[in-house]
Each structure stands twice: as structure tokens, then as C-alpha cells.
């Protein structure tokens, strides 16, 4: 008898669980938005300091680091040894030989940092 009742209410229980999860998701999203609003003064200050609002998502190339400030066609100006001129570059990495064969001058200063 009990098993029949459970059998009947099970879909409803799943539906209620789903609704509760959606409710939690909406509440979590609202809390995160409130957090974003609270940190807006910090974001404004940092953009004023840096002079750019571009997100530091990729520091590989200037057209990825500051897409909003880079001139159109920037990826094509920097030569064949570039690491990534397309988002798909993350999925299809260039062959290592290409990077190994790049002239040193094209890679920047030869020495690395050192702690004094």
C-alpha cells in the first residue's frame, strides 16, 4: 500500500524538488547580483586606474587582452609565430615546432626575472 502511494507521488516529489532547485538557483543568482552591485565602486575605481575595462581573461596577445582597444586586423600583423589568433586556438594548439623555431627577437627580451 505504502509502495503504491510512493509510486503515485514520486513524480510530484521530483517536480517539487525541481521547483525547489529552480527557486534556490534564482535566489543564488539574486544574491550574486547584489554582490556585483556592492563591488561596483571597486570596479569603477579599477577601470579609472587602468583606463580600460577589458577583462584579463587571456594575456596571450594584445588583441585578446584588450580587444576593445586593438585595431582591426591586429592578429594578422604580428607574424606567423603567434600563439593564438582565434578562440579555437585553445582547442587546436599550434605545433610546438612553430614556437621553438620562432626567432628569439620575436619572442621578446631574452632574460627572465630574478629575485635580487
Amino acid at each position: 500500500m505504502r509502495s503504491t502511494t510512493w509510486h503515485r507521488i514520486r513524480p510530484l516529489a521530483w517536480l517539487l524538488l525541481l521547483a525547489a532547485a529552480v527557486g534556490w538557483m534564482l535566489q543564488d543568482a539574486a544574491a550574486r547580483r547584489a554582490g556585483q552591485a556592492a563591488r561596483a565602486p571597486w570596479v569603477g575605481a579599477v577601470v579609472r586606474l587602468l583606463g580600460a575595462a577589458d577583462l584579463a581573461l587571456s594575456s596571450a596577445s594584445r588583441w585578446l587582452r584588450h580587444p576593445s582597444l586593438t585595431e582591426p586586423g591586429a592578429p594578422f600583423a604580428d607574424g606567423p609565430a603567434i600563439l593564438d589568433n582565434d578562440p579555437a586556438g585553445a582547442a587546436l594548439a599550434p605545433p610546438r615546432e612553430v614556437l621553438a623555431g620562432a626567432p628569439e627577437a620575436a619572442q621578446g627580451p631574452a632574460r627572465g626575472p630574478r629575485k635580487p
Binding site: 576593445s68 582597444l69 585595431e71
Partner: protein
């Protein structure tokens, strides 16, 4: 209403009788919804972060172009631009990139007037630890946490970096808050004089000029006037920057979405294959329903409810899982593909930016074709002779 409730109860029973198939379809639907939702959540959240930050941008940025790429701009242009009507201020900026081959890392170097009251106020707002760089002191820098960790530096540690043939000693005096890591992860902020030395920008030159206007809506007019003054300059207004960002994430999100389309098509083909194979039990069931007085529309409605419920039980958890994956687990894997190659990744603390209409479109894109695909075989079976269906000859 009572009729619909009865149909829903019948549809639930029907889904339970074919539990294996219903479960498999719900899981496949959940996976496809998860993948598409994760891309949508991530791209929209990143776009929103930029849009909110864009409000504090200068109205215009003036760059000098040489040989088709940005070059240094003479600070003497500052006075001629400042004299234009509507221009409130013109700020020469010194900033650029620094690549360290041994670390395979690219850093963003930004110079600021460390003695300026506005700069000191802004810095004290966004710094988590340490102290402000002293005005006039050489080599004192503030860094993003990711960069400091990458270089293995703690507060007050010093590091020497090569600058041409010479070397520059930098001392870490402050760290940016992690809440602004999306903007500062790879940033080294230092005094203007240090930035000039570090980036080898000669006195009287700047990377670009930041222009603020009394009426930002007149940015296009001001940009045209500046272009007349400096024919070789490239002028970027704030709206153009926002549009560029929108397009960037549209392209990236679109590329990933396009990569996921085969998965969606594969799922629909699977659903079509599973649902068109109406088994003998199902035929008999439809035959019994028709023989006991059910109309074709009733059979179709029951099937519609059954697949809508499967769709709901599949897509709902898929969207929830995508939310947890992007906003709580910080999208491992997907972020790497979407953002590209990098040595320094900021901690992705994102805020949901997807509205109900987008979720609805997403649901329609996945659930509607699935429900529609299920109706055709049910309609074909329901329009046949009930006797034939019961005897198994139809």
C-alpha cells in the same frame, strides 16, 4: 482542467511503464541542455561584467597609428584636443605589455600618477593588502594576486626584470582585491616615471590619450573633430568598445554553440529513432484507448504531456547543472576553450546575467523539437483502426 489532470496522470503512468526509454531520453536531453546552457551562462556573464565596467571608461581613446598598428602619441596633441568645445580633460596614459620568455607570461604594465589624490583614493578602494606606492619612490608596484602568485612574490618582496640591456628592480607594496581580479589578474601598476622606464616610452610620448567629454552623447562629433586635428589617429569611443566586446563574445559563444549543434542534432535523431519505433505494447495501448472511446486528439494530448514531462525532467536538471558548473565550479574546461591560451587565469567569480527569455529560447530550442518529433508516430498510430491495433495487424 479535470480532463487535463487525468491526461497528465495517464501520461505519467505511461512514462513509468516505459521507464528505461523515458530515462534515457531525459538524460540525453539533460546533457544537450547542459552543454548549451553552460556556453550561454558563461558568455552572458562575461559580457555583463564588461558592460558594467564600461561605464567608468573615458569617453574617447585617441591612439596614433603608424604602419597600420598603434604607435606612441605625442603629448603635445593634448593641448589642441583640450581646446575643443565639450572636452573636459585629456589624460596621456603610459601603459603596455611586458613579455617574459622564460615564464611564457605576458603582463600588462600600467603607469599612474601616484601623487594624484584621485589615483590614491581609487587605489585605496581596490587594494586588499599592503600600502599605496609612495609618490616619487621608484620601483614600488601594486599587482594582481594571480600575477604575484605566478611570480612567487609576497608583500615587500622585490624582483628584478630585464629592460632592454638594463634591469629594473620592482618591489611589491600592494595587492589588488580578488573581487577585481577579472581586470587586474595580470596587471603591474606603477608610477608614470617607472612605467616610462619599464616600457621604454620616451618623455613627451604616451601610449594613448584618454578624453572625457562634458556630454558623452556627443562622442561621435568630438571624435570627428579630433580626427580632423590628427589625421593619422584612431579614435575609439566607449560605445565602439562595448560593441567590440559584444561581438567578441558573440563570436566565441557562437563558435562553441555551433560546435554543440551536432550534439543537438544527434539527440533529435536519437529521439526520432526511439519514438518512431512504436512497439506492439504501445500499439495495443493506443488500440485499447481508441476502443474505449478516446479520440485521436486525446491520444495525442496524452503523448504531448508524456514527452513534455520527460523534457521538463531532462532540461530542468540540465540547466541547473550548467548553473552549478559555471557559477560554482567556475566552468573548468569550458573556460579554457572559450577564453583562449593564457598563462595567467583570473579566478572566475561571475554573476548570472541570463534572463528568463533566454532560458525560454534555450528550452524551446531543445524541448520543442523533441516534443514535436514524438507527436508524429503517435498520430500515425492513433489514426489507424483500433481493431487492427489490438490484433497487431495495423
Amino acid at each position: 482542467m479535470k480532463r487535463q489532470l487525468a491526461l497528465i496522470r495517464f501520461a505519467l503512468g505511461s512514462a513509468r511503464r516505459r521507464a528505461g526509454r523515458s530515462f534515457a531520453l531525459a538524460v540525453a536531453l539533460g546533457l544537450v541542455t547542459f552543454a548549451l546552457s553552460a556556453v550561454l551562462f558563461l558568455t552572458e556573464a562575461l559580457r555583463r561584467e564588461f558592460r558594467l565596467a564600461a561605464a567608468a571608461l573615458p569617453d574617447l581613446t585617441v591612439q596614433q597609428l603608424a604602419a597600420g598598428r598603434p604607435a606612441l602619441i605625442a603629448e603635445t596633441h593634448r593641448a589642441s584636443i583640450a581646446a575643443l568645445p565639450g572636452v573636459v580633460s585629456v589624460q596621456p596614459r603610459v601603459w603596455g605589455y611586458y613579455f617574459v620568455p622564460s615564464l611564457s607570461g605576458n603582463f600588462t604594465v600600467v603607469g599612474v600618477e601616484t601623487g594624484s589624490e584621485t589615483v590614491r583614493r581609487d587605489l585605496s578602494l581596490v587594494m586588499l593588502k599592503g600600502r599605496l606606492p609612495r609618490p616619487g619612490a621608484s620601483g614600488e608596484v601594486v599587482m594582481g594576486e594571480a600575477l604575484a602568485t605566478f611570480l612567487g612574490l609576497d608583500l615587500d618582496d622585490a624582483i628584478t626584470l630585464p629592460v632592454g640591456r638594463a634591469e629594473k628592480r620592482l618591489q611589491l607594496v600592494g595587492l589588488f582585491r580578488s573581487e577585481v581580479a577579472l581586470w587586474t589578474a595580470d596587471v603591474i601598476l606603477m608610477s608614470l616615471a617607472d612605467a616610462r622606464e619599464f616600457l621604454q616610452v620616451p618623455p613627451g610620448q604616451a601610449t594613448d590619450l584618454a578624453v572625457r567629454l562634458s556630454t558623452p552623447d556627443e562622442a561621435t562629433v568630438a571624435a570627428r573633430k579630433i580626427a580632423e586635428l590628427l589625421p593619422g589617429a584612431r579614435i575609439v569611443d566607449r560605445q565602439l568598445k562595448t560593441r567590440t566586446y559584444d561581438l567578441t563574445f558573440d563570436t566565441r559563444g557562437g563558435l562553441l554553440g555551433a560546435m554543440l549543434l551536432p550534439a543537438l542534432v544527434a539527440f533529435l535523431v536519437l529521439a526520432w529513432d526511439r519514438l518512431t519505433g512504436v512497439g506492439p505494447g504501445e500499439r495495443r495501448e493506443i488500440g485499447v484507448l481508441k476502443a474505449t472511446g478516446w479520440r485521436t486528439s486525446d491520444v495525442l494530448l496524452a503523448r504531448l504531456w508524456e514527452n513534455t514531462l520527460i523534457g521538463l525532467y531532462g532540461a530542468g536538471p540540465g540547466i541547473l547543472a550548467a548553473y552549478l558548473y559555471v557559477f560554482h565550479a567556475r566552468a573548468p574546461g569550458l573556460a579554457g576553450v572559450l577564453l583562449g591560451w593564457s598563462t595567467l587565469y583570473p579566478a572566475l567569480r561571475l554573476t548570472p546575467a541570463v534572463d528568463a527569455s533566454q532560458v525560454l529560447v534555450l528550452g524551446c530550442l531543445v524541448v520543442l523539437p523533441f516534443v514535436a518529433a514524438s507527436l508524429v508516430p503517435a498520430w500515425r498510430a492513433a489514426t489507424r483502426d483500433p481493431h487492427g491495433l489490438l490484433r497487431g495487424t495495423a
